[in-house]
Amino acid sequence: MTLPHRDAPWVFRTYSGHTSARASNELYRANLAKGQTGLSVAFDLPTQTGYDSDHALARGEVGKVGVPICHIEDMQALFESIPLGRMNTSMTINATAAWLLSLYVATAERQGVDPRQLSGTTQNDIIKEYLSRGTYAFPPEPSMRLISDMIAYSVDAMPKWNPINICSYHLQEAGATTVQEIAYAMANAIAVLDAVRARPDVPASALSRVVGRISFFLNAGIRFVEEMCKCRAMAELWDEITRDRYGVADARERRFRYGVQVNSLGLTESQPENNIIRIVLEALGVTLSRNARCRALQLPAWNEALGLPRRWDQQWSLRIQQILAYETDLLEYADLFDGSPVVAERVTELKRAAREELERVLAMGGAVAAVENAYMKRRLVESQTARLRAIEHGEIQVVGLNCFTESEPSALTEGAHSILRVDEFAERDQIERLRAFRAKRGEADVQAALQGLRDAIANGANVMPASIRAAHAGVTTGEWAGVFRTLYGEYRAPTGVAVSAAPAADHTLAELRKTVKQLGDQLGRPPKILVGKPGLDGHSNGAEQIAVRARDVGMEVVYEGIRLTPEEIVQSARDEGVHVIGLSILSGSHGVLVMDVLEGLRRAGLERVPVVVGGIIPDDDAAKLAEAGVKRVYTPKDFDLNRIFGEIASLVSEAAAA
């Protein structure tokens, strides 16, 4: 059936931001001029975790993977000449979402825009931060409280705003199977809605509207037929859950609204030009079925596994969306799959399996309990382990990585840098601006606003009004988060690296175990490895898989999870008496952090312990690290973990013999 009118396309976004508010503003305006129809703000890691740019933990991270926003003037600069009343802005912000939304509202007010006009999304999903994304700051209880405050606030004060995006995207990036992705997202949404429903200030009559404001953020992997079925399955499940569990009568409020970023985990460093084809196919998965079409889409760039994308790289991905929406006939038809028995069967099976897993999580007390007892995280780590093993063994074929590896030199990566390098002075400049801002603001107002926030928390009042006042008063990101840190302390989520059954030994693994055992005889005890993640980087997949495999080859493994300081890593290395240290860094701050660890080791007299580094490390940086004393550098193309451990065993053996 052709439609009488061509459908309007989904919102085109590009996830971007770096260096400074001003530089990012310029980038946003350029992107809008190219036909992008919404904004998607990437914040830097200090902002996401609630530290000001001049905090010790922010060192090396300011303006790197996103824009640093410390206070209202940064936010104003970010949206300078962008009329917020007419913009659709998505902000990837979670632990500090209430604060960044407050800054956004305050900025709108200063632009003369009524907050009721604001449309967009705060990601604001803390559960997947504990499970995958890693930018949590406070423990689950107060974090869930912040989320429900935002929902309760915005449902009336910002009726066009999506206060939360329940994310299954990051679960797939952490290794989730399709069924896990569906089940854990639903469990997450239920935890949030249950919390909101329990609030005395949200009348039962408002619950239906609250449900109507809940949106999702999905992934779309390369198995694009199954992904299309997944979207349909989630739409059906959501309809059923909201009807049965929350009694939402209005079918429109039960509609499954979702945005997408297509899969990045499967994008390769090897033959990176192939990625553009993967991205196109993945985009099809979430646009083909009209009844389960995404509302907004953002696509990664072809050079995803190399480093940060440049403007041209992002433009190329935007053009994919535009060609799909404007050149093809996709938007002229009714749903292509209604009535297909093949699709219906797949959808039914996904729903059944997802419900089963969902029930398991609900039975253990719901998503929050299943975060704290590490159940969901363990399952994700297990799935990722299985995925990587399948790639190693060729059961999953990845073109250019583990098959069809013969290649001409890539015309795209030849010669000059093929990634964005953030200006090394960005951090210094940002800190200067921050200090100048602090010097000129009204200190009394700031203190009063912070006290107002503390009072609101103590009285159990909604923190949003107090936070918006704090934004106007000139409170900084670190100060706002500091209030919560002082009250609730730091939280560390379970690592999920548990004792799972060692896989059946294949030939290389068996050989490797022998080598490691011999190494143990040489050393007088089994080799002991410290897997460390310095800095604010939350990419844990690599470190987790290295830890799991280290145990499987017969090593004793110390892995303490993400976000350690270089000093903590040195202390662990010393106290634990490890034979080798493996650092994993994907956020691009390896320059500073690896040097700090090496320096600390020297001071502790541990310079003879070999150090290896893995992650997103461009070639010329790898050379610098080697010069500084790093023994090996591994990047995503090194998918053969057994080979990596063979090399590490040799390194340890050489170091012991020396």
Partner: protein
């Protein structure tokens, strides 16, 4: 610490020699050295998290703390994930806390060969020494032989207590903590069952009634009381003379265990068999390192190996 964990023959001797020296130095001190506390309980009971909370409290009271945490090794690969350190964050950036993870290797009882030597060394340096080990069953018996005070961590949930009673686990601990009290009624129920179970069974030390405390590592409730209870047990041991008895028991266990493992029953026969070995360990001194060294040399001489 690395030396204590080294199995190469020469290194093992060197380590024992060093320990023996330390032992003589310790003997010269008048006080009884560090308080040695074992922590056991089922996997996931919250031992590490509780330890973290306890360490914070002890540090606030001005005491320094050494910790040894033992995790099981994979039977298949021989590797091990040493996960406790990730939960005991109070030691990070604090020189008054030392944390060492250990794999149990081929031992099944929840301890590692290096546990006792490490505890001895840490005892010379820190005020309180903890050893965390997972386990329900055999490991309680093993760890209880090495420590002055055994803390058992239980978590809320019915059924457990009955099993503990059947397994005879309740005889050993000196202090019981029912963790996760923040979950509410279930914790109180478990504590009640434990207390009831305890009143039935016979305790090893007739003069000490093991307290059952409700604690929460998460919200901090009961931690002060727990620290007090551990200190009270220590005071009881000192006052009653039981401390010396426990240290003697530990020595015997360590010396006979380490020599039996090393030389097997064949070697032990050379010096008159198991009972004789235990008797000599019993009559030895200090932590038993010098005793172990001496008896070991005798066995080797009897076996015809160069000493």
């Amino acid at each position: 610490m690395n030396l204590l964990d080294d199995r190469r023959p020469g290194r093992r001797e060197a380590a024992l020699g060093l320990l023996a020296t330390l032992e003589r130095a310790a003997a010269a001190q008048t006080n009884a050295g560090a308080a040695r506390i074992g922590i056991t309980g089922a996997p996931g009971a919250g031992k590490s998290t509780l330890l973290d909370a306890l360490v914070r409290r002890l540090r606030a009271r001005g005491q320094t703390v050494g910790i040894v945490a033992v995790d099981p090794s994979s039977r298949v690969s021989g590797g091990a994930l040493l996960g406790d350190r990730a939960r005991v964050r109070s030691g990070a950036r604090d020189r008054g806390v030392f944390f060492r993870s250990m794999a149990a290797r081929e031992r099944l009882g929840g301890l590692a060969d290096a546990t006792w030597p490490s505890m001895a060394v840490l005892s010379a340096v820190f005020d309180v020494v903890f050893v965390e080990t997972v386990g329900v069953g055999q490991s309680e018996a093993e760890v209880t032989e090495l420590v002055d005070t055994l803390l058992f961590v239980a978590q809320p949930g019915a059924g457990d207590v009955l099993q503990f009673m059947k397994a005879g686990i309740l005889e050993h601990p000196d202090v019981f903590a029912v963790n996760k009290a923040d979950v509410g009624a279930a914790a109180e129920r478990t504590a009640g069952e434990l207390a009831a179970g305890l009143s039935l069974g016979a305790q090893a030390d007739a003069d000490w009634r093991p307290p059952v405390l409700l604690v929460s590592a998460r919200d901090g409730r009961g931690i002060d009381e727990l620290a007090d209870a551990l200190a009270a047990h220590r005071a009881h041991l000192v006052a009653s003379g039981e401390l010396a008895e426990r240290r003697r028991r530990a020595r015997t266990a360590y010396v006979s265990d380490t020599l039996e493992r090393r030389y097997g029953s064949f070697g032990v026969e050379r010096i008159g068999g198991r009972e004789a070995l235990r008797a000599r360990a019993d009559a030895g001194h200090g932590a038993g390192f010098e005793t172990a060294l001496a008896i070991g040399r005798e066995i080797e001489a009897a076996l015809g190996k160069p000493a």
